[in-house]
């Protein structure tokens, strides 16, 4: 699975995700990626793209959960991501990337690794695979 979230100079948040699904899938199995609110979601506060075990990500309505946690707790992006990955999902289930309306970014996972990268207008830039 691949994904990208971005905030532009007009303040528009966008999330996108694309995937081949899971090896050996059958019976017309659909994972989290095309399910708006689960694997892909954007609101006026945050844009989220997920990757990992699709069924678990769907059961947690993951992208929407992060957004609503931020709005109603209220919480920071880091707190919301941690809530999803450590309190709702189980170890090994998923990775997520997100950017909020202020340009704060998150790339976090409860898996062993995630191919990932981030950059912003302040010159922060990082590419990583493991912790």
């Amino acid at each position: 699975t691949v994904g990208c979230v971005a905030l532009d100079k007009d303040g528009q948040l966008v999330a996108g995700t694309s995937t081949g699904g899971m090896t050996n899938k059958r019976y017309g199995r659909v994972g989290d990626v095309p399910i708006i609110g689960s694997g892909t979601y954007a609101s006026e506060v945050v844009a989220v793209s997920m990757t990992g075990w699709g069924e678990r990500i769907m059961e947690a309505v993951s992208g929407h959960t992060v957004s609503e946690y931020m709005k109603h707790k209220p919480a920071t992006l880091r707190e919301a991501g941690s809530y999803l990955l450590r309190e709702v999902l189980n170890p090994g289930d998923a990775g997520m990337i997100a950017v909020d309306k202020n340009g704060n970014t998150l790339m976090d996972m409860n898996t062993q690794g995630m191919f990932r990268g981030k950059a912003d207008a302040d010159g922060n830039r990082e590419v990583a695979i493991w912790e």
Partner: protein, 175 residues
């Protein structure tokens, strides 16, 4: 911050034992993907263009499980899914189970921008792709040897599991 971008190329059990050259190749391709989005956003481009073009690059890169390099289904085919969503308008578009679309994220964007619907599946998504005249490929385009071998291993493992328990996939839920 004026703009920001984050990308991923999948998560899970990623072996640290891979050769240094392979690690470096992944890092370079992630860096390239990031640069595509950075350039667009730095120049005042839109986040929807950045997201689409970054994902197009990753879909066209056989290292990642999307587009070329997609995993195999049980029947030995490839079925692709994609979605895109804009935060302030809550406009969204998605496709699932597409088999001949080179860049599913671009079709998802067309669904978002040109259709009153959000999600098209299977044959309906293919029909929408016909109408939108997006680039098409045959299934062979998605083939990579690495994914083929992973599929054969998965078939072998599921056969072994099936004969041992009498139940098919009793450990893995495939939806």
């Amino acid at each position: 911050k004026e703009w920001a971008i984050v990308i991923h190329g999948g998560a899970g059990v990623i072996s640290r034992e891979m050769p240094d050259s392979t690690k470096q190749a992944y890092r370079e391709d992630l860096d390239e993907a990031l640069s595509i989005g950075e350039t667009i956003l730095k120049d005042g481009g839109s986040s929807v263009d950045a997201v689409e073009q970054v994902i197009n690059y990753l879909e066209n890169n056989p290292k990642f499980n999307a587009g070329k390099g997609a995993v195999f289904t049980h029947d030995g085919d490839h079925e692709l899914d994609a979605a895109i969503m804009m935060g302030h308008s809550r406009n969204a578009g998605a496709v699932t189970g597409v088999r001949t679309v080179k860049n599913p994220i671009s079709l998802a964007r067309l669904v978002m921008e040109n259709s009153k619907h959000i999600l098209f599946a299977g044959e309906g998504a293919e029909q929408y792709a016909d109408e939108m005249e997006v680039e098409r490929v045959n299934q062979d385009y998605f083939y990579t040897e690495r994914r083929y071998k992973a599929w054969r291993r998965a078939i072998k493992n599921s056969d072994a599991q099936s004969s041992a328990s009498g139940l098919f996939y009793d450990k893995d839920k495939y939806g």
